[in-house]
């Protein structure tokens, strides 16, 4: 594949056509940005492009395509390599399904109120950049597209620039993205070596030695991991993802984080050569910590979109654990277990892209309908937005890993992989796997709590604000988009076994073996991890079972009791209060959790401000939380930089004589060195 030329597999050619369509849409919208109709046309074009690209990538994935060519662009001599293999195809599919659904959502945007030259031209550009990252076949092309992806999404993050919070988010986001890119530059520098072999093929041919590999690994984890949102580097994510328009948030959270995961997989599983067992340690440690921490943040936060962003952090943690397990198994020569872990990881990437997009789109609908995203201003939306509520419930159940939806499939596979942990030859890994399992279990339970809270506060109960009480159901295309995603969540939940058999060749490449027992289950849809005697999850059967018993229950109950129902005021132990403020609020919901977990993780403390008798002031309960990741890794360095710059700034105000002295000192210093040296 190193030779120049333009021969490409049909799948790649079609994919490129889709990508070209994105480019065309971006340019078109940028040029005619004054015309609302042109801006509105971006979404239909994107839908077509995404459908083409998704179709092509699905075909490439199923056909295990490996095709590429070289263009005389980019780095001189080395050129720009384009390459589509099964790994790329899998992630291209994730990206374009995400774009497809968010673009459908975009169809429903209000032409006069929502469309803007700050968003629409950059939406396809962003999609384009993400696709390019995935099909780049050399380090330059990869990082070029990677940065382009950051840049285009930055524009989207700051699109509502009048809000100072969004500007802050944009700044933190892009600086963090740049830090990540530099870290990836290090990684690729190490991979390419001093000779500058930047093409992936050349890197594969000459993998680095163990020391350099360790540095590359660190660079990759820091660079791509920060982009994905791994704790403790994650603090930019809950700022940036919610700041963008909701359909873009969906892309950022659901899809772009997966592109980052792709980067890690590409580097660690493909380019870095034969793995060493300790490579898995950072993945497992960071992943387990991220999974739990992300949810603890989420469960204590009071902003709908930020909660979703924190939950993305959590899911990235789960994916990291999966990667770590796959890496550890692969390094230990346990290919089958590596395949299970890898399958869990890849499926979770796919699943998370669906349910997180769904949830963000639903949040967007809520935001559009009420203008609010703080929990204290929402409530009771299930009455005004029944469709959105239903789909959001599906998303919430999926993300909480509840059967029969898709989140559970990947979670289940991951637990199976954890259970293979005793086979590790390395004692550290052997003891880490149950710990990781415990953290995953904790994360799963916290996820349920988090999303019960989110759904309950936003959609159930009584409206907490006038806006929420006057909300309207979202536009039809947006319902369609959510319906599509909800459908995917359900299908993914039911047919995980089929999905796994579709990625068998990919597992073979990445893990060294396919799943050993796929298709040996009792039904064609059974998901079998190791062998049928050890572990089966048969979602369709359970779903039928659930349906049957639900039906039976309904019949039985209605037969015995009829359907007599009387409406009445709420009971509430006899003291119903008409004010919606008496409802349980989001903060009160999380209070028990804060009591249990907050003290250690966030240094939470509560102070009660009780006025003296005779004082009319209301009493208040204040909660202080410390976001240590932010304080230590973001605020403190930023303060240090600004503080140091303030000190150095004195050098701007010296007298000319002092400047001359500097010149003179530099000269004398060099002369002294010379005098000693020669």
């Amino acid at each position: 594949m190193t030779g120049a030329g333009f021969s490409a597999a049909p799948q790649l050619a079609i994919l490129l056509a889709g990508i070209a369509l994105y480019a065309a849409a971006a340019v078109f919208a940028a040029v005619f940005h004054r015309h609302k109709s042109v801006l509105a046309a971006v979404y239909p074009i994107c839908i077509v492009a995404a459908a083409i690209a998704a179709g092509a990538s699905l075909a490439a994935l199923l056909g295990n395509t490996d095709s590429g060519f070289r263009l005389p662009l980019g780095l001189p001599v080395i050129g720009l390599h384009i390459r589509l293999d099964a790994l790329s195809a899998f992630f291209v599919l994730i990206v374009n399904l995400g774009v497809l659904t968010t673009a459908i959502y975009g169809l429903g945007l209000d032409r006069d109120r929502d469309l803007s030259a700050r968003v629409e031209p950059f939406f396809p550009a962003y999609a384009l950049a993400m696709n390019l990252v995935l099909i780049a076949g050399d380090a330059f092309g990869f990082l070029f597209s990677w940065e382009l992806m950051s840049l285009t999404s930055w524009v989207l993050v700051v699109s509502r620039h009048r809000d100072a919070g969004n500007r802050h988010a944009g700044h933190v986001y892009l600086v963090m993205a740049a830090i990540g890119t530099v870290s990836l530059l290090f990684a690729f520098g190490g991979l390419a070596g001093a000779a500058g072999n930047y093409a992936f093929d050349a890197i594969r041919a000459a993998p680095p030695g163990p020391l350099v590999a360790g540095l590359v690994l660190a660079g990759a984890i820091f660079g791509a991991g920060s982009k994905a949102g791994i704790a403790p580097l994650h603090a930019w994510l809950p700022l940036a993802h919610p700041a963008a328009p909701s359909h873009v948030s969906a892309l950022m959270s659901g899809v772009m984080t997966k592109v980052a995961i792709y980067g890690i997989i590409r580097i660690v599983f493909d380019l870095l050569g034969t793995p060493i067992w300790w490579w898995a340690l950072p993945f497992l440690l960071l992943g387990a910590m991220t999974a739990v921490l992300g949810l603890l943040y989420a469960v204590l936060d009071n902003d709908l979109k930020r909660v979703l962003a924190y939950s993305t952090v959590e899911n990235i943690g789960i994916i990291f654990v999966g990667l770590g397990l796959a890496l550890a198994f692969k390094a230990s020569g346990l290919s089958a277990a590596a395949a299970v872990a890898m399958a869990a990881t890849l499926l979770h990437c796919l699943n998370h892209s669906w349910f997180k997009s769904l949830l963000f789109l639903g949040a967007g609908a809520v935001l559009h309908a009420t203008g609010r995203r703080d929990f204290d201003g929402l409530g009771g939306l299930i009455h005004r937005m029944p469709v959105t509520a239903a789909f959001w419930l599906v998303g919430a159940m999926s993300i909480s890993a509840l059967p029969p939806f898709n989140g559970f499939v990947s979670e289940w596979l991951l637990f199976q992989a954890v259970l293979a942990g005793p086979a590790f030859p390395e004692p550290i890994l052997r003891f880490m796997s149950p710990a990781v399992g415990a953290m995953l279990a904790l994360a799963a339970a916290l996820a349920a709590a988090c999303f019960v809270r989110a759904f309950g506060i936003v959609y159930l109960g009584r409206p907490r604000s006038r806006e929420a009480a006057e909300a309207h159901e979202t536009a039809r295309p947006q319902q369609v988009a959510m319906a599509l995603l909800a459908g995917l969540c359900l299908l993914g939940g039911l047919f995980g076994g089929v999905a796994v058999s579709a990625i068998q060749p990919l597992l073979q490449t990445l893990a060294g073996a396919p799943l050993p027992a796929t298709g040996t289950g009792p039904t064609p849809f059974s998901l079998v991890a190791f062998d049928a005697a050890r572990s089966i999850y048969d979602a369709p059967t359970i779903a039928i079972f659930l349906l049957t018993s639900g039906l039976l229950v309904t019949l039985l109950v209605h037969h015995l009791s009829g359907r007599r129902t009387r409406l009445g005021p709420a009971w509430d132990c006899g003291f119903p209060d008409p004010s919606p403020l008496t409802q349980y609020s989001a903060s009160s919901f999380s209070q028990p959790l804060r009591r249990v977990y907050g003290g250690t993780v966030f240094g939470a403390s509560e102070t009660i401000d009780m006025p003296q008798p005779g004082d009319n002031r209301p009493a208040s309960l204040n909660v202080q939380l410390h976001d240590y990741a932010w304080e230590l890794l973001y605020a403190a360095p930023a303060r240090a930089v600004v503080g140091l710059s303030a000190r150095l700034n004195a050098l701007q105000f010296l007298t000319i004589r002092s400047y001359l002295m500097l010149v003179f000192s530099a000269l004398i210093a060099l002369l002294l060195i010379a005098a000693v040296w020669f």
Binding site: L151, H171, F186, F188, G196, L670
Partner: protein
């Protein structure tokens, strides 16, 4: 070759002389553009003649691009000046007489830089560079405000000391070559010195390089020799800031590189690399920090120039085909991008009537086109794709990491710190509630578009000819 070079040097000087006596500032502006266009054509003609060297001038892989770039940026800046300086008359900051003077001086400066770039005689190179410096001193003080005069004065004193030290270094080079090449002109001819480099006196070369580094380093703006640079950029007319950052710094660095080639070619002379790495890193990191405290938009980008000069010096200090290639590419890209940024800044300052960052908000609302131009410029200079600087920074960082992993942390740190500040300021300028006033912009945006367009193309595709020049020059630089 001689004809082309003669034209490249002669046209600006002759036109400068003519413009000095032509009445009417509009005519002199037009004359400036015309003369620079002719110079540019002469520069382009170098592409079609054979490279070569005479005892006084030289055209080779090392300088051909910089000559063309110099004439190109000179041309675009003259176009920008024509509209920009006209506005200065309207606002009463300059009188027509001064504008005439300005245009003549501009051409003189361009001519001097072309002398420095084409010189094969190291004395001539020195003369060209110093003439350019002295002319810019005058241009920096052209507004005659106290701060402008102070900036010019600072520039003048530091520049003069730099001049002197560089001259002493030149004498030492001559002495080093004297033995091998005999007394007289040959020992001052760069191409002969380069060819005979291994026979030169190594220790004299070493001492010479120290003086040249400090002397020309002052012109390059390397910290701690940089003090003149921010004020000179901030207080002079914006086109001059563009030329200072875009060209003069490059020319000074170019001169330094010519000497580095000689020193590197001597097997026993010290490796200039470590010194350049240290000075480059100091400049890069120091300037990056200084960006945070800037209140004046032009001073902000002036410090950014120091930052990038530091990075380029670092790259050449690293050496090796990739780093040298990246350094040369970065010089070219920085030149185009930074002058484009100053064009945009000029527009912004005219639109908002101030250079103070605090007085400029919400440009993306009031002046969307300008905001895009400025944002593109800042992103380009920050090394984001799809612009050319990304490629050079990519190569610098990756190759440094591949060779000296720990060393790579420093330039990366500096760049990131600098990016944080630039982005912060950029967001302040572009977003939020717009501030008053919001005038219409009269200056031409064509130069801005041309520069950014070139940087964009270079980010995606580098022509093989250019790559060839750079590779061979990188080879010479070791």
């Amino acid at each position: 070759m001689m004809t082309s070079v003669a034209l490249v040097i002669g046209i600006p000087f002759l036109s400068a002389a003519v413009l000095a006596v032509v009445p009417g500032y509009r005519a002199s502006a037009a004359g400036n553009v015309l003369a620079m266009f002719a110079t540019f054509l002469a520069g382009v003609s170098l592409l079609f003649v054979d490279a070569g060297a005479s005892s006084y001038v030289i055209v080779d892989d090392m300088n051909i691009l910089f000559i063309i770039l110099n004439t190109l940026v000179g041309l675009t800046t003259s176009v920008f000046s024509a509209s920009y300086i006209g506005h200065e008359i309207e606002t009463g900051k300059l009188t027509p007489l001064f504008v005439r003077f300005y245009h003549a001086m501009f051409l003189g400066m361009m001519g001097s830089m072309n002398v420095a770039l084409t010189a094969n005689n190291i004395g001539l190179m020195w003369v060209g560079l110093e003439m350019a410096t002295l002319i810019t001193v005058v241009m920096v003080g052209i507004y005659r405000t106290p701060s402008a005069i102070e900036a010019a004065w600072k520039y003048f004193i530091l520049g003069s000391v730099g001049i002197s030290l560089a001259f002493f270094g030149t004498i030492l080079i001559y002495l080093a070559g004297q033995k091998a090449l005999g007394e007289g002109a040959p020992a001052m001819t760069w191409s002969l010195l380069q060819a005979a480099a291994p026979q030169l006196d190594a220790s004299l070369l070493n001492l010479a390089f120290i003086f040249l580094l400090i002397g020309y380093g002052t012109k390059v703006g390397l910290a701690p020799l940089h003090a003149w640079l921010p004020d000179a950029h901030a207080e002079g007319p914006t086109p001059i800031s563009a030329v200072l950052s875009g060209l003069l710094l490059n020319v000074a660095l170019y001169a330094l590189l010519r000497f580095k080639m000689i020193v590197s070619a001597h097997p026993e002379a010290i490796d200039p690399g470590p010194v350049m790495i240290v000075m480059g890193l100091i400049s890069l990191i120091f300037a990056a920090f200084m960006l945070y405290q800037r209140r004046d938009i032009k001073r902000l980008f002036a410090y950014s120039s120091i930052e990038h000069m530091g990075l380029i010096t670092f790259a050449f200090g690293m050496g090796g085909p990739l780093a040298n290639f990246a350094g040369l590419l970065h010089m070219a890209m920085h030149s185009l991008t930074k002058s484009a940024i100053f064009f945009a800044v000029g527009h912004v300052a005219q639109a908002k009537g101030t250079q103070r960052i605090a007085g400029i908000r919400g440009l993306s609302v009031t002046h969307p086109g300008l905001a895009i131009g400025l944002a593109v410029g800042v992103f380009a200079i920050s090394g984001l794709p799809p612009f050319g600087v990304f490629m050079s920074e990519f190569l610098i960082i990756t190759t440094t990491f591949a060779r000296e992993p720990w060393l790579a942390i420093f330039p990366a740190f500096g760049l990131l710190v600098g990016f944080g500040a630039l982005l912060w300021r950029l967001q302040d300028l572009l977003f939020g509630e717009p501030t008053e006033p919001a005038h219409k912009v009269s200056a031409s945006s064509v130069p801005l578009i041309i520069h950014l367009g070139l940087v964009l193309i270079a980010g995606i595709y580098l022509p093989p000819t250019l790559v060839g020049w750079f590779e061979r020059a990188a080879e010479m630089l070791k």
